[in-house]
């Protein structure tokens, strides 16, 4: 594995993933790592962030001293409104998701398969808290991207030929941001798009549990 500082690698991954959000989008950022993207968005970028518990137009995350007890995101973080924010009930919130109004969702993952299958809600016998809104986000957002460490804490690959865990959604993941690389899910499988600074193609190939298509052209770094 690369000698790069893992904290730097994580920060670079988050900063790179943040560039996936472009002007005009309605976006849902999943609980955990994806939510960290908020801190990397340019202040003048016109995007609308949605959270499942009933808000569009999420502003900065607030420290406890300045928090509003009635204003959280789906992960329980205290958030703030911005000019133009809206609150709504859970049925409206998921109407927005299921009807195709969500341009992008960025989710965490336990496993992603080379056909775009995603598993991120259950590890039988170990972790079964329920899927929350993940199934609808993964199934209905117009574009689904994943942000995850390339391997689990034991070094096992999370990008696989087939998922072994219960699925969240089938064939929905389009792109994966990891601490090592940006990888697209194509009709032919995983394709390397970008490399993290200091990481080699061979390192990514070895950390990936499925064939990796490597283009002949220069691979950009992030």
């Amino acid at each position: 594995m690369s000698d790069a500082n893992p904290l730097d690698a994580r920060a670079r991954m988050i900063a790179r993933a943040a560039r996936e959000l472009t002007a005009g989008m309605v976006v849902n950022l999943g609980i955990g790592l994806p939510t960290k993207v908020i801190n990397h968005l340019p202040a003048d970028l016109p995007v609308c962030l949605h959270t499942e518990n009933g808000m569009t137009g999420i502003g900065a995350t607030l420290p406890y001293e300045r928090a509003d007890r009635n204003l959280i995101d789906a992960g329980g973080a205290y958030v703030s409104p911005i000019p133009g924010s809206a609150y709504f009930d859970s049925a409206v919130s998921f109407a927005l998701v299921r009807s195709g109004r969500l341009d992008l969702t960025m989710l965490g993952a336990f496993e992603v398969a080379q056909n775009g299958d995603l598993a991120n809600w259950k590890i039988p016998g170990k972790f079964s808290p329920g899927a929350g809104g993940a199934i609808e986000l993964a199934q209905k957002a117009r574009r689904v991207v994943v942000m995850t460490t390339h391997t689990d804490r034991h070094g096992n690959p999370k990008l696989l030929q087939q998922c072994t865990l219960p699925l969240t959604a089938q064939r929905r993941v389009a792109r994966i941001f990891t601490d090592l690389a940006v990888i697209d899910v194509t009709a032919h499988g995983f394709e390397l798009c970008e490399l993290a600074t200091g990481v080699t193609v061979q390192e990514v190939t070895e950390a990936t549990g499925a064939p990796l298509i490597v283009p002949d052209t220069d691979i950009p770094t992030f």
């Binding site: 509003d68 998921f94 199934q139 089938q170």
Partner: protein, 230 residues
């Protein structure tokens, strides 16, 4: 003409709930959870309850108190990951948990509240959540039938109310409350501020009082409602 007065006390409202009741409980995390009604239900001790709630709150808070007190038989929920006690109650078989996709839970409750019998959806196809569910073919696609949900009682937390039970909600304390407030024949609302009839603009009312049976003003907001420093 004037509208009926449905104001009551927390204690008297909860005393109407029998053992074995199916109860919808509003809230998503802390916002919108009717903590005072829940604490009174713990005090009165009704048993064999089926709860329908988005989440299981956190350890030592909200419906976790009912689970810890052995009053809950079944929980219908979307995500209980913030409550280790609830997960261990599930794993040890002390409670049964039926998981539902979050927006589908909302829609099943809305259907129940709207007098419909079921909804039809492609959400969950190809996942464990589809197992055991009726499949129908419509528009050339296989779709799942999700039954509508109603309860015996709905416990609601609202921001403002009038004595007839017209309700408004604060920020993300809406969540499941307006939906659950339509989906039970006995709807009990605890409210932070109770004003006279006419104190709410008709245009501001989110839950019309005709859906609500009992309104209890909170004399104070306990620590339950405050900021959680995790």
């Amino acid at each position: 003409m004037s509208l009926p007065d449905k104001t009551t006390t927390i204690e008297a409202a909860v005393a109407r709930i029998p053992d074995g009741a199916t109860i919808m409980v509003g809230g998503f995390g802390v916002p919108g959870t009717p903590f005072t009604l829940i604490r009174e239900l713990v005090r009165q001790g009704q048993k064999d309850l089926t709860l329908i709630k988005n989440d299981a709150n956190e350890t030592g808070m909200g419906i976790d108190l009912l689970i810890a007190n052995g009053q809950v038989k079944t929980l219908i929920s979307t995500h209980i990951g913030l409550n280790a006690n609830a997960i261990s109650a599930l794993n040890s078989g002390r409670i049964r948990v039926e998981f539902c996709a979050q927006g589908i839970l909302a829609e099943r409750i809305r259907a129940g509240g709207a007098g419909l019998s079921a909804i039809v959806t492609d959400i969950g196809l190809g996942t464990e959540l589809a197992e055991g569910k009726q499949v129908v073919e419509m528009h050339g696609k296989r779709l799942l039938v999700e039954s509508a949900l109603r309860a015996d009682v709905a416990l609601i937390h609202a921001d403002r109310a009038d004595p007839f039970g017209n309700l408004t909600y604060a920020a993300t304390a809406r969540n499941f409350n307006p939906l659950m407030a339509m989906a039970a024949p006995m709807v009990i609302a605890e409210v932070e501020t109770l004003g006279p009839l006419g104190s709410l603009s008709p245009e501001a009312v989110e839950t019309p009082g005709a859906f609500v049976d009992h309104v209890a003003e909170l004399s104070e907001l306990s620590e339950d409602y405050g900021i959680v420093r995790r």
